[in-house]
Structure formats: structure tokens, C-alpha cells
């Protein structure tokens, strides 16, 4: 999965975001760049977080921004990765809803999406991998983590 992020150019490394909305716009950039999603996808994600709350922060420091399956303007079923050096807050006063790692989902094909989610879950269940991703600085780190921790 980490190798795919590199191969598809689906990654972004940044110092910080001004707020969570800014972070959502940033994490969608790689998906917009290759036409996987259209420009309004990020605004749909923001609207969904405003409606449902910061539930996309699925574990400490890890967010999984997404909108509905088959949302308007989604052309590929894929995932993009982003890492911020400084965590951004999704809920004021609740550091459990901070995020540094972003796995942005886009889906228009449920079978492919399910396969992607199995692979993502393999990454997120691996504490060593998550820990190393928090310290990653570029695509070469993603490849190294893939090789040392995930390739069997």
C-alpha cells in the first residue's frame, strides 16, 4: 500500500496546516492532481465532517478523510497519504482528535474499495508501521517502511 502511494504520486508531506479544513484541502491535492477526484470533493468531505463531527479521526493522530461511495466528482477508487509534522486539531480541547497522518479515501467501485480498505487496515493495525509513518519525511521513507515492515 505504501509503495502504491509512491507509484501513484499519492502522497504529500507538509509542516503544518492552519486548521482542519486547510488540512482536508491539502490532503486532497494529490487526488486532484491526477484527476482521481474533482475540486469539490474536498468541500464535500468538509461538509460531512461539519455534519457528523470528527469521526474521521479513527485512532490517535490518524485521520481517514472521505465522503460517500460514488460521491459526485470521484473518478478513481484509491487512497492518498499525507503527513503533517505538526498535528492539526479536529475538536477543540480534545487532543484525542488531533491528526498528523491522513489517509484520504475516494471510492466509486465497492469491490476495489474493499480491497483498498483491507490493505489500509493492515497498515493501521501494525503499530511499528504507524509509529514510523509519524516520523517519515518523504517518499523514500514510505518505500523503506514498506520494505522493512510490510513486504513478506
Amino acid at each position: 500500500m505504501l509503495r502504491e502511494f509512491v507509484q501513484l504520486n499519492h502522497y504529500k508531506f507538509a509542516k503544518k496546516a492552519t486548521d482542519w479544513r486547510d488540512a482536508i484541502r491539502m490532503c486532497c491535492e494529490p487526488l486532484e492532481a491526477d484527476g482521481s477526484v474533482e475540486a469539490d470533493y474536498k468541500e464535500q468531505i468538509i461538509a460531512s465532517i461539519e455534519k457528523f463531527g470528527p469521526y474521521i479521526v479513527i485512532m490517535p493522530d490518524v485521520a481517514m478523510p472521505h465522503c460517500q461511495e460514488g460521491a459526485h466528482g470521484v473518478h478513481r477508487t484509491t487512497i492518498s497519504f499525507m503527513k503533517l509534522d505538526e498535528p492539526v486539531s479536529f475538536e477543540e480541547g480534545n487532543p484525542e482528535k488531533n491528526a498528523k497522518l491522513f489517509f484520504t479515501l475516494a471510492s466509486c467501485d465497492s469491490d476495489q474499495h474493499l480491497e483498498n480498505m483491507m490493505k489500509l487496515s493492515e497498515v493501521l493495525m501494525n503499530e511499528a508501521v504507524v509509529e514510523k509513518l509519524m516520523e517519515a519525511d518523504g517518499p523514500e521513507d514510505l518505500l523503506r517502511i514498506q520494505e522493512t515492515c510490510l513486504d513478506h
Binding site: M59, M64, H66, Q68, L105, L114, M117
Partner: protein, 96 residues
């Protein structure tokens, strides 16, 4: 056999992760199960038909379960230990 409903805002992200973990944990606990994942909006209307509802903790208050339906909220969706201990707390492992 217990019927489990898992849900998240849109029904495609976190609910799929919870589903995978639920199936793994229930299997480990030796509890036969069937798990359906969906969006919160749909889940609210069908929850009465399930034994167990598992969601992220901020969604727990969306449900007003009838007797017989247990609603569990998770802090860390990827932590199988949290899920297992919450399942044990609510006594589901006794209900075979």
C-alpha cells in the same frame, strides 16, 4: 448467532474497518456472527433489528436503542483489545 450492525458517517470508511475488526474479534471469542455495515442515517432506522451496534464513540448518542440492542462506542477503531474488552463488559460472550 448474533447480528451486528456497524456504522459511520458515510458507511464506507471507518465502518469497514470496524467490520473487519469486529469479525476478527468475535471469531476469536468464539461467537458466531453476521456483520452489516452502513451509514449512520440508515443505521438509526434499522438498529432495532440488531443485537449489537458498534460505532465510533461520537455516534453513540445518535442511537436510542430498545431493550435487547447493545450500542458500543469505540475510541480507537483499530484497537482490537478495546473492542474485545467492551464486548466482554457487555456480556455478549455469555449470550451464546
Amino acid at each position: 448467532m448474533i447480528k451486528v450492525l456497524v456504522a459511520c458517517g458515510c458507511g464506507m470508511g471507518s465502518s469497514q474497518l470496524i467490520k473487519q475488526n469486529c469479525m476478527a474479534v468475535l471469531k476469536k471469542m468464539g461467537i458466531e456472527n453476521t456483520v452489516y455495515h452502513t451509514s449512520i442515517d440508515e443505521a438509526k432506522t434499522i438498529a432495532y433489528d440488531y443485537d449489537l451496534v458498534v460505532v465510533g464513540e461520537n455516534f453513540v448518542k445518535s442511537f436510542k436503542p430498545k431493550a435487547g440492542t447493545v450500542v458500543l462506542g469505540l475510541k480507537n477503531l483499530m484497537n482490537k483489545k478495546e473492542l474485545e474488552s467492551k464486548l466482554q463488559e457487555c456480556g455478549l460472550d455469555q449470550q451464546q
